[in-house]
Amino acid sequence: MKLVDWIEIGRMDELGRMDTPVHRLDARAKIVVTVAFIVLVMSFSRYALSALTPFLLYPVALIAMGHIPARHILTKILVAAPFALVIGIFNPFMDRHPVAIMGPFVVTGGWLSFASIMLRFVLTVGAALALVACTGMYRLGAGLEQLGVPRMFVTQLLFLYRYLFVVANEGLTMLRGVELRSNGIRSLRFRVYGSLIGHLLLRSMDRSERVYRAMVARGFDGEIHVLRRASFCWSDWAFVCGCLAFFVAARTWNLAHGLGLLLTGSVR
């Protein structure tokens, strides 16, 4: 069992429960901004590269102001990178339009689009990670529900999250029990696997029955009622408007190019 993955979730959960100005922003605001970010980033043309770079400001700012350790985010991006790499790596082979000449190197369209894919990947994953790390699962769920996601689904997400560690722990304990009696064999034999997973499943079903029992004992009638609802305040509006304005500007004009012109213009 991959213990490291559980530690990951635990870490993300800890980060999500911190209290910084970024964390205190309404979850809905952050969700809407993140969605807009991803859509706009993905709407660029295939060969966009420099135009994408100003977008890096958003995840970086969020991570910095949210006191999220950058190393944590970077490792997660790195771990997820191979897939984009695999699919994108075909581009340089398929598309051989020469696009630029840098010294002795001819840059083909394929390499450009490949780089664009990778940059887009970093941006979208970074923004999503920033969203989760700066909001936390529960506030995120509440925000989603206020945005119109069916309550049953949000409840499902929160219950899943709640019992993730519990079930994982049970599975880990069972696995450890098997390993201790397995004489060093790494992977489970198939029959043992069926039995172990089967047991874990039955225990999970038993647990869900007990949870249901406890819910009924406290008057559960099929619907989960909510205690507090977050409300938008002026800082949330400012955040949303500011970010959206920046994204739209960065999409409409190539800000990096402009900066480059400014720099080279002043040099000359």
């Binding site: 219950f159 709640r162 009924v216 406290r218």
Partner: protein, 251 residues
């Protein structure tokens, strides 16, 4: 608080696979009394408890809580009067924060938000857990979880508290706190437990079960001191009755 008497008459119950779990249970508990339910594993204690709030339907016999017989229709009302605390706190704390877990019951009862807030504050205060109200439940220690689980039930202002193995998995200090808490309640308390020392300290009466039937019921000392009876039904005479220790002072 009205006088809620718990009365069970000739209760029988068999599981779908045919196992007879309860064979003719009858008892009557007066208001405000603390009664322990003791017996060996598999004696039927949990099954009996689940009848007291209508989770298991009464198929043969009668369960009366206060003035009403427990039926499918009266169950929701009864559940507000009978608060049940189960053995594993993880099964009872399923909301994102402690406050929301404690608010679960009152919200289901349809109380308005400000009253719910009051109940939450009161319940947490009562068990001494006000400082963890915004924490997610899985970040609590075993003792804290147990206390919060009790708070989730107290918030519904029940008249009768039913508890299944409340002192299991508690370290001595938390166990002591629990005992003090239970002694301080004025509710009717029905406690199924293996912890016979707790029974001596908290409960004035005892019901002994074996094989789905009641084999003895009466005042605690009289029953628990009967060594023969205890041994015959998978129990023992509690240590504190054997040597007449003075009770340790409260923490």
């Amino acid at each position: 608080m009205s006088h809620h008497i718990v009365e069970v008459r000739d209760l029988f119950f068999a599981y779908p696979d045919g196992t007879e779990a309860l064979k003719g249970i009858s008892f009557r508990i007066e208001h405000g009394v603390a009664v322990a339910l003791v017996g060996a594993n598999g004696a039927g204690k949990s099954t009996l408890l689940l009848h007291l709030n209508g989770y298991l339907p009464t198929t043969r016999g009668e369960v009366r809580i206060g003035d009403s017989a427990l039926t499918r229709e009266t169950a929701p009302m009864v559940r507000r009067a009978v608060g049940m605390v189960f053995q594993d706190p993880d099964d009872q704390l399923f909301m994102p924060t402690v406050a929301e877990d404690v608010a679960f019951g009152p919200l289901n009862a349809g109380l308005p938000a400000d009253q719910v807030e009051d109940r939450v504050a009161m319940a947490l205060e009562r068990v001494g857990m006000t400082h963890v109200r915004e924490r997610p439940p899985y970040r609590l220690s075993a003792g804290e979880k147990r206390a919060v689980a009790i708070a989730t039930v107290l918030a519904m202002t029940p008249d009768i508290l039913v508890m299944d193995e409340p002192s299991s998995n508690l370290d001595p200090r938390n166990r002591r706190r629990l005992i003090e808490l239970l002694r301080s309640f004025a509710h009717t308390r029905i406690i199924a437990t293996h912890d016979l020392e707790l029974v001596v300290e908290v409960c004035s009466h005892v019901i002994v079960m074996d094989g789905g039937a009641i084999v003895a019921q009466g005042p605690t000392r009289a029953i628990l001191d009967d060594e023969e009876l205890m041994l015959a039904h998978g129990l023992e005479r509690p240590h504190s009755l054997r040597h007449h220790h003075p009770h340790p002072p409260s923490a």
